[in-house]
Amino acid sequence: MTGQKIAEPRGPEGVSVHAGMPGTVERIANLPDALGRESMIIEIRKNGEPKTIPSLEMLKGWEQIPAEELPRIFQHSGLVTTDPRMEPVHTKLQRHAGARAIIINSCEPEPYITCEQVLIMSHALEVLKGAELLKKTLGAKKIFFALESCNLEMIELIKSKIYSLKWEHVEVRIVPALYPQGLESMLLQSWFPGEEKEAVVFPASTAFAVYEAVALKKPFYERVVTVGGECVVEPRSLWLPVGISFQDAIHACKGVMREPQKILMGGPMAGTAQKTTEVFVVTGTNAILALPKEIAKEEPEEPCIRCNRCVDHCPVSLSPVMITLAAERKEFSVAKEWNVADCIECGNCAYVCPSKRPMLKLIRSALPPSGPEAARG
């Protein structure tokens, strides 16, 4: 049935997995996933109505659960951060033990995506309580709530909720709605320059999942996903179970009205294009986009004319032109000298390039394999 545990964690790093829909386990096999890698996938043959959601009841006294017990609850509820890195929540907390503050990131990660906004507008209180739980587990002093300056309604909503809760340790911070401000490293860099160990960033949807796991004992098997792009008939953000195929997700939005050029998992800047729709929603899937030809066209590549666009638009002040020119000639030591390891892979350089060079591909080829982005594939 929905929410039933179908896999146990093997070591202290792992999390358990819960079924997103009722049915029987068909097979367990290594299949390619939406990130282009092979991974172990448990296939479930659906039977019964998908709407048979088990009734959830508020656990009495959930606020009194001691902080030492919370990581175990996180692990056994299958809690994973809802950004594309998909790190188990309890290991992320462990890794950042001793941090002073928690940043709840409600910025949309990329253009087109609205999943965080939709979630917060309907569940603001739950998100705040989830943040409080994360703070309690970590033993942090403060919660920063990062909100985008364009969402005036959301700013008012969060401020009023904080006021009614009388939580003085929660501080709202407004950031400009400007890509790539939603990236974790950007938030950390702008508030805690040089002291990245001082704070830990969680997406607002992760905080919501934490609240549900603790207060409602609901395992993590569904999340809000934006299904959008110009090709989808009814683009919107909706609750999707983890493990549903992209085909079914798009079908839930009345299908596509014309042949999409690209199906993306994630946003148009750093997402991954899919060759088929038979891939599955994972916990890090924040969007499924079907982009038409005129938006996602492939243009012929030209030589670099050293126009400085990428240097001016790099949010972390690198010189993408030098890094990519070095990567093209396979001179990876030169790329390292030009600080390729600091790249946050936002894709701004590739977007602005007038020569349409594959900047991100070249930069990734020069990145050290053990870098923080290696998990992203």
Partner: protein
């Protein structure tokens, strides 16, 4: 469910691209050059059209030969060759023998650009290289360009200004590049030059500031580096010759600074995480 074979290759980001492109830049710059040709025709310098024709035909021919020899794809449609021809015809003096013009186009398109590695790879601005080459070979016939010869006219100045503002509007380069170049040149002329500042001098400075510094390939890779480059080029071009600024001295100055570009790039290498404060949004009251 997952019965269909999935191709393991997934294409990489970025999936959306800005509208900026090389073709757009080149044709945009050509559009900015149009007022100059119109003004030349109306001020009695119609011979520039024949020079333009010679330049165009020979540039296309050399480009064609270069693509055959180096086995590259033609870039006529991207407007690069047409732009080079148009700009080069503006650099040519009047009553210049057509074989000299053709030799200049050969040096610019074939030697200066294609032999040095084609688009984006040449270390020296090819048009100025060709002009300096001709200056050294034919010192008598290589006087100031047609449009800037003599006293100059107000119409010329206005057309160069108009072309320059079209370029600025396209925002392909930094706005401070022409501003810095012009102010330094005017300051040098006012301080060290004679009292007479003919209109041709102003048109020349404007022309160099807008059009000779518009090629990003030979400019440094940072904003600071570009500013230093322009400063050096302006100081050199106003002080190289005792007569003050001229297109002749500007050619030497820009080529000289081109040689310094790699050093400027390395010296002014950007420091990572020199945070551009994106987070300075204030709460709208």
């Amino acid at each position: 469910m997952a019965e269909t074979a999935l191709s393991p290759k997934t294409t990489l980001p970025t999936h959306i691209r800005s509208a900026d492109s090389l073709t757009r830049r080149h044709w945009g710059q050509l559009l900015a050059l149009a007022p100059l040709f119109v003004a030349a025709c109306f001020t009695g310098h119609a011979e520039i059209l024949s020079v333009l024709l010679i330049c165009l035909v020979s540039a296309v021919a050399f480009e064609f030969i270069a693509t055959k020899i180096f086995g590259k794809k033609e870039n006529l449609r991207s407007g690069e060759t047409v732009l080079a021809a148009a700009l080069f015809s503006l650099l040519m003096p009047s009553r210049c023998p057509s074989e000299v013009v053709i030799l200049g186009v050969f040096v610019a398109v074939f030697v200066g650009r294609e032999l040095f590695g084609g688009t984006g790879a040449y270390p020296l601005q090819p048009l100025l290289l060709a002009r300096v080459f001709l200056q050294l070979c034919f010192p008598q016939s290589m006087t100031e360009p047609i449009l800037l010869a003599g006293e100059g006219s107000l119409w010329m100045l206005v057309s160069v200004g108009l072309g320059g503002s079209i370029l600025l509007k396209q925002k392909n380069g930094y706005w401070e590049t022409p501003v810095l170049f012009m102010s330094v040149c005017f300051a040098c002329e006012a301080l060290f030059g004679g009292n007479s500042m003919p209109l041709a001098f102003f048109s020349g400075v404007l022309f160099a500031a807008f059009f000779l510094l518009a090629d990003p390939v030979t400019l440094p890779l940072t904003r600071k580096g570009t500013a230093l480059f322009v400063l050096g080029a302006a100081l050199l071009s106003s002080n190289l010759s005792p007569d003050g600024f001229s297109i002749r001295s500007a050619g030497y100055a820009i080529l000289g600074m081109n040689l310094l570009t790699p050093f400027l790039d390395i010296w002014l290498k950007p420091t990572p995480y020199q945070m551009k404060r994106l987070t300075k949004a204030t709460y709208p009251a």
